[in-house]
């Protein structure tokens, strides 16, 4: 039996299919104007690649911001919060993981799981963009670099500058100020990543960080944020063995298997 998960987030949408305890396929796209369209598109693309039809998937769980609409449209049988899905997906991949730091486009979450793979506790940022992927996007736009470059560029930093504020708007002003002073972009990039990590670390401390720890979500691909988080929290992150952006959809597929009745 095949099970599916669809995760429609603020910036990207993913679909995952699992069968016999293995990931059969996954797909990630930039979101469309509405969540149902995103879900239809990403699931359609994945099914087409796998040569499957919607009815070939026994049970589908939707997650992410569009989860309720996606279910209401009949694309999924049930919906589960992305907090549970990221936790379940991470533990399915890495059974020893107890803490998941998930940083997406518009929110950051720190999720604690217990030994039986159940959600133990979580904390999520408020609506401020600081500490989320959006913060990095704004800074990249100001620096004139891509998101991918942000992580690699900061490895070349020699004298990271101090960014006094964690507010995205104020931070952008500070970055502009450093650029006008001729500060090396690498030094600014490193500071942006550090500011991001400090913000998320503060969130993580609210629920406590229990090893093993891993990261999911798009920002997990930024090695500099990851290593700054390791330094601040004093932990080593277990690398995510799949694209960290699909962990939510994977968790949804794993839960679909549970909810859909396969033992």
């Amino acid at each position: 039996m095949r099970f599916g998960g669809i995760d429609v987030g603020s910036l990207t949408a993913q679909a995952v299919v699992v069968e016999n305890g293995r990931i059969t396929g996954s797909k990630s796209i930039g979101v469309r104007p509405n969540p149902v369209e995103s879900a239809e598109t990403v699931l359609g693309m994945l099914l087409s690649e796998l040569g499957l039809r919607h009815q070939d998937i026994s049970y589908i769980v939707s997650t992410g911001y569009g989860r309720e609409q996606v279910q209401a449209k009949g694309l999924a049988h049930a919906n589960v919060s992305e907090i549970s899905c990221h936790g379940v997906g991470a533990v399915w991949l890495l059974p020893g993981v107890r803490t998941i730091i998930d940083i997406g486009g518009q929110d950051a979450k720190v999720i604690r799981m217990d030994a039986s793979g159940e959600l133990k506790d979580f904390v999520m940022n408020d609506k401020c963009a600081a500490g989320t992927g959006r913060f990095l996007e704004v800074m990249c736009r100001t620096l004139g670099i891509t998101l991918d470059e942000l992580g690699t560029l900061s490895l070349k930093a020699r004298n990271p500058v101090g960014l006094s504020s964690r507010c995205s708007i104020f931070c952008e002003t500070e970055v502009l100020h450093y650029l006008q002073r001729g500060t090396d972009k690498a030094d600014i990039a490193a500071s942006v990543n550090r500011a991001m990590a400090e913000r998320v670390a503060a969130l993580a401390r609210r629920v406590g960080v229990e090893p093993e720890v891993t990261m999911s979500g798009g920002v997990a691909k930024n090695g500099a944020v990851k290593s700054e988080l390791e330094r601040i929290l004093g932990v080593r992150m277990v690398p995510c063995p799949v694209d960290p952006q699909i962990v939510g959809a994977l968790g949804a597929a794993v839960l679909a298997r549970k909810m859909g009745g396969e033992r």
């Binding site: 911001y65 589960v80 919060s81 907090i83 549970s84 929110d107 959600l119 999520m124 408020d126 609506k127």
Partner: protein, 370 residues
Amino acid sequence: MEDAIRLAGDILNSHLEEWRRAGGRIVGYTCVATPREIMDAAGILPYRIRALGKPERELADAYLSRFNCGFCRACLQLGLDGTYDFLDGLVENNGCDHLRGMFEDWQYAKDPAFFHYLRVPHTVSEEALEFFAEELELFREALGRHFQVDISDASLAEAMERSNRTREKLRELFSLREGERPALTGRQAMAVILLESSLPPAVFEDYLARFLEESERNEVRGYRARLLLAGSATDELALVGEIEDVGGLVVSDALCYGTRAFWNLPRLAGDPIHALAEAYLKHLLCPRMFDDYATRLDYVLRTARRARVDGAVLVHNKFCDLHGVENVRLRLDLEEAGIPVLVLEKEYGSGADLGRIRTRIQAFLERIGG
């Protein structure tokens, strides 16, 4: 009950308009530490100011900073934009500094005909009770002087008796809410409390009798978990609606727009001013009081156990200093007592944040197995 929710969703409801047409006066107050009976005895309708989750702030932000609680800013906005022009006066008290700022800016900008500052002590002692009783006497005198009315002990006793009856029935209704088969939703219960402080007392008594009759036959079904809602001044029917929409039935609360307004107040009897001073000060379950954390925790725990909740949602508005701090302690103590907790810090009345709030509530329900 749905009619009641619609009525509670109006700042100026039809009964208030009728009251005004008949020449009745209305005085606004905010804090539950204000003995409404003194106004009732004067024939004045005591109206508890609310903002009902309205998000506009632009006028208020010219007076209060953005680092003030959104509830206070939203109330001030409604004061400044004329929504509350139907009030004949305001009663300020020192519930918290944000609230004081709200009242004093309102007074400065609108210069209401009647404005009284009712000081409420922050401690409970014989001296504090004596002080508060004097404050209540001053309040009685100020009301009587301004509105040209004699507030006799007999009229106070009558108002107290009406309060006793209302509280007794409210307890009865809320017991049905907390029961094994909850008779009303949290949203309905909040609407009842909002009506209680925005209707002529005699009119509310009639409504209450009807709610009781309806609730005895009613049973709420289809929820995933029983929740307790506690925290800062929360009059947002929409927020409770969101919590219940994802399956968390709010079967009880420890809110000042909820059970804290009436549940533990004793039967009022004896010398009116002293009885009121004692009832209101000794049973004020707000973190604005010093040294009373143990009493407040005990109230929350008792409520949670009585209502057999599966978890508690502790809510506070951004920049609500009192409840922001209180919720940290409460969370630790409730979790230790075996009650799972979700702390929900939020922007007051922000519709844009509802998606994120829903996610947190849904995840919390998943966490507690609901």
